[in-house]
Amino acid sequence: MTDPAPPEPQPAQPQHILSLPFTTSNLTLLTQGAEALVYRTTFLTPSTPCVLKYRPPKPYRHPTLDKRLTKARLLAEARVLVKCRKEFMGVEGAGVSVPAVLGADWEMGWVVLEWVDGWTVRKCLDEWIHTLGLKGERQGGGREEGADGGGRQKEEPLWDLMRKVGKAVGKLHEIGVCHGDLTTSNLMVRRVAYTSQEQEKNTGVRHVGRQTVSAMREAAITESDAPPEPSSQTAEQQPPNLNGDIVLIDFGLATQTVQDEDRAVDLYVLERAFAATHPAAEPLFREVLRVYGESFKGARTVLKRLEDVRLRGRKRSMLG
C-alpha cells in the first residue's frame, strides 16, 4: 500500500507578512530555517549591507506564548552576539569574530546583523579538498608522516584554517558561550584579497566549479551579491583565500554556559559536520581538536568529555 504523494510544495515566495518597518522592497530572501527567515538588505545607510533575521509569528501557537518564545529566543541570540563582540574587542588579533548587532525589535521579532563577506568553512573545505585532490584513503597517515613536501606545502593554508577554527571555538568557549549548532556552514572565513605573491603560488591550481547544492546556495548567498571587487575574476579560478578571520554565525541556539558537557557537544557536532563534508576532512579535524586543547585552561577536560559524548551521542538523557 502506498501513501498518496504529498501535495506539491508552494513556490518559495514567502507568504509571511513582514513586520514594520520592513517591506519586500529592498529585501532579498537568503535562506529560511525552521524559526526564522533570513534576508539581505541595508540598514542605517543605503550603503551598509546587512542581514535581517525575522522570526514570523507561528499561527499554531497561542499568541501570548508565541510572543514570549520569539522574544526570549531573539534576545538570547542578540545578547550572546553582543557579549562575544564585547569580549573579543579587547583582544588584539584574536582572529575570531561574530556579526555585530545593528538593530533589534523583539516585539516585532526581527534583528539586524552585520553582513559578513566571505565563505563558509564548508565551502572552503569543498573547494580546497577538491582542488588539492585530497582523498579519504590518505587519512591514515598523510599528515603525521609528513607526506610529500610539495603536497604538504600546498595543503598548508588548509591546516592553518583548521588551527584558526580550533582557536576560534576555544575563544568562544573560554568566554562562557556555547554555540549550540556548530557546523562547518556556521563558520565563515572573512573575505580578504590574495596578495600578488599568493596569487602566483596558486596559479597552477585551477578549480573547476562543482555544482553541489551547497555550492549553489553558497554562490547565491555570497558571490552574486558580494560587492564587486578587483579580485573577483581570479576568485573564480582559485579556491577561497583562507587568510581571513574566522567569523562564527547563527547563534540561534547559543547558550551562555561553562559546562564541559555543552562544550564537548559543540565539538561533537562540529566533528560530525566535518565527517559529513568529506572523508579527507577527518584528519583535518584532529588538528582542530589539537589547537582547541591548547587554546584555554580547561580545554583538555572538554576533550576528555568529548570521548564520552562520542560513545553515546549528542543527547545526554535518552528522554524525548
Binding site: 529592498n26 542605517l44 542578540a78 564585547k86 548587532v101 545593528l102
Partner: protein, 203 residues
C-alpha cells in the same frame, strides 16, 4: 548659516533625518533653556558632539527613536527626546540628557531633526537653526564622516562601560607604525559593540 545634511534611513524613506554640526557654540544655555521649557519650535535633539562616535552611532539611535514613534511605543514624549534617551545604555532619561544632551558648557553641537511631516524641510531646519544657534556651522559630507570628528572616545567608552583593557599597553608601545590604522579598527570595534548595546537597550 547652518549647513544641513539630510540622511535617509533605509526602510524609513519618508522620514528624512536632518543633521547639523556647529563648533564654538556660545549660546548652549539658551538652547537648553528652550528644551526645558518644551518650546515646540525647539523640537530638536541637541547632542553633545563629543559623545557621538560616528554616523552609524547617531543613525542607530535615530532609527530606533523613529521606529518606536511610528509603532507608538515611545518611552518619552517626542521622537527627539527618544533619540537622546536611546543613546544611553541605562533607562534613566535625565541621565541620558546629562551625558548626551546639550549642557550649558557645550561648544561642539550636533542638532538632529527628524522629518515627521511635510512642514519640516532641510530649508526650514537650516533657517531656524541659523537664526538661533550662535556658532560656526560645519559642513557634513554625504558620507557623514565628520560626525565623529569631535568624539571623545574615552568618555564615550566610559558611559557604555567599555573601558580600554589594553590602554596601558598601548601607551608603553608609543608611536609605532600603523597606530592610526589600529586605532581606526579599534574605534570600529567599539562602535559595533555600542550599536548592539543601543539596540538591546530596555530588553
Amino acid at each position: 548659516m547652518a549647513a544641513v545634511q539630510t540622511f535617509y534611513l533605509p526602510h524609513y524613506p519618508t522620514y528624512p533625518i536632518y543633521v547639523c554640526m556647529f563648533k564654538d557654540v556660545s549660546n548652549a544655555d539658551f538652547l537648553r533653556s528652550q528644551l526645558l521649557e518644551a518650546n515646540p519650535k525647539f523640537d530638536y535633539a541637541f547632542l553633545d558632539a563629543t559623545m557621538i562616535l560616528s554616523l552609524p552611532h547617531l543613525l542607530s539611535a535615530s532609527f530606533l527613536a523613529l521606529h518606536s514613534h511610528v509603532t507608538h511605543r515611545s518611552k518619552t514624549r517626542t521622537p527627539h527626546s527618544e533619540l537622546v534617551f536611546r543613546l544611553h545604555p541605562s533607562n534613566n532619561i535625565g541621565e541620558s540628557y546629562k551625558r548626551f544632551g546639550i549642557s550649558d558648557s557645550t561648544t561642539y553641537l550636533i542638532a538632529v531633526k527628524i522629518g515627521l511631516g511635510p512642514e519640516t524641510t532641510a530649508e526650514s531646519v537650516m533657517e531656524h537653526l541659523s537664526e538661533n544657534v550662535k556658532g560656526e556651522a560645519v559642513l557634513i559630507g554625504g558620507g557623514g564622516l565628520e560626525i565623529g570628528m569631535w568624539a571623545n572616545e574615552a568618555k564615550v567608552r566610559k558611559v557604555y562601560k567599555l573601558e580600554n583593557k589594553d590602554a596601558a599597553k598601548k601607551e608603553k608601545n608609543g608611536a609605532v607604525n600603523g597606530v592610526d590604522r589600529a586605532e581606526a579598527n579599534q574605534r570600529q570595534e567599539v562602535e559595533s559593540v555600542i550599536l548592539g548595546m543601543v539596540s538591546l537597550k530596555g530588553s
